[in-house]
């Protein structure tokens, strides 16, 4: 890799490292910062394309953060760009968890810490429930979707079916729909 490419790779890495470091809580929260950095500042992709990208990445499996970084990195500098973008975006969380895990393990005997965690577990349960309800409201249109959602829930929670099977089943159902209604 010559000097120019090295510098470019570093620039890509740092940009996505920043994005990864300042996004707390997960995938979608990353998007505003990504837009600011990559569309406005660096101009590596324009707004229309990034919107199209966001739509598409929801259609494929994977981690939103990685998917979007890899796409933009690839656009900027091919596979090399994709690699450094992806690496940059996951490194902050990787490092933080590595450090915290050690701390956690040593603090778990403390009563106060236990109470804090018990509280946070209850709180996060509520958080996810609210999220689930909001998602359900916007994504479930029509009786068939509602039925599929409920069925998946029952299969996973009560019948202990592995979620991967429900996803496959959903995909197959979708495909059947395509065959029927195209």
């Amino acid at each position: 890799m010559n000097k120019e490419k090295l510098f470019e790779s570093f620039e890509i890495f740092i940009t996505f490292f920043r994005i990864g470091a300042f996004t707390l809580g997960g995938g979608y929260a990353m998007l505003p910062l990504m837009e600011k950095e990559v569309v406005e500042n660096k101009k590596w992709i324009d707004r229309q394309e990034i919107l199209d990208m966001f739509a598409i990445i929801q259609s494929v499996p994977g981690i939103i953060a990685v998917k979007s970084s890899v796409f933009i990195g690839f656009k900027k500098a091919g596979i090399r760009g994709a690699f450094f973008a992806g690496l940059g975006v996951i490194l902050p969380s990787f490092l933080v968890i590595l450090l915290i895990a050690h701390l956690l393990l040593s603090l778990r005997d403390n009563t106060y810490i236990q109470k804090v965690f018990a509280g946070v577990r209850a709180g996060v349960t509520a958080l996810i429930l609210v999220t689930a309800i909001r998602f359900a409201k916007s994504a479930l249109k029509g009786y068939i979707s509602i039925l599929i959602a409920i069925l998946s829930f029952i299969l996973i929670v009560f019948l202990n079916i592995h979620p991967i099977f429900t996803i496959l089943a959903g995909g197959i159902l979708g495909f059947i729909g395509y065959m029927k209604y195209r």
Binding site: S59, I63, I64, S93, R121, L127, A132, I148, I164
Partner: protein
């Protein structure tokens, strides 16, 4: 051997990660149950920590489980493995972007998968509830008295408080977590 298993498992999880973090939790949980790499409570704790740290929940979980199981090397393997499918898939997509965008088959397949992911997210709620507000060894029975007796009162109060305030006030998740921590200290 364990490292290869870590790679295999997390690669597969990455491959089926539809629906975002909370849906993926459900899949990770199922795999963790098979391998016993992490306890339910630990799993719930890492989800909680994930709300306050940078990075996606799924990656954080992979890093933690990897580290717990096989040290720093395990953490690296798990993290890279769960990310690899995304990397490969997006390289392919970047290439065939337009065709993918217009594909009717894909649109229909997603129509089928989307409601499933909603079910997955709700199942994640139950998973978490089992470690947070339900008593240990709960049975999800069908009569009202069976159900209500399974809840740990104090934690459920925390849950209810957070639920109502998050619903009403739309606070940032980090604040919600801090709030939960404080109530936890006070009430529990």
């Amino acid at each position: 051997m364990i490292n290869f298993t870590l790679f295999k498992v997390f690669f597969m999880i990455g491959l089926f990660s539809f629906g975002g973090g909370y849906a993926i939790i459900s899949i990770i949980r199922a795999e963790m149950e098979s391998y016993g790499w992490i306890s339910s409570t630990e799993f719930a704790d890492i989800i909680a920590i994930s709300q306050m740290t940078p990075g996606p929940i799924s990656v954080n979980t992979a890093t933690y489980v990897g580290m717990n199981t096989s040290g720093i090397l395990g953490a690296i393997i798990a993290t890279l493995s769960i990310s690899l499918p995304s990397f490969i898939i997006m390289l392919i997509i970047a290439h065939y972007f337009v065709q993918f965008k217009e594909s009717k088959v894909i649109k229909w397949i997603l129509k089928g998968i989307r409601p499933v992911t909603i079910g997955l997210i709700f199942s994640a709620v139950v998973l978490l509830a089992e470690t947070s507000i339900l008593k240990p060894n709960s049975q999800l029975g069908f009569s009202l008295s069976t159900i209500t007796s399974q809840f740990d009162i104090k934690s459920t109060i925390v849950f209810a408080l957070v639920f109502i305030s998050y619903l009403k006030f739309k606070l940032h998740p980090i604040l919600v977590v801090v709030f939960s921590a404080l109530i936890g200290l006070i009430i529990l």
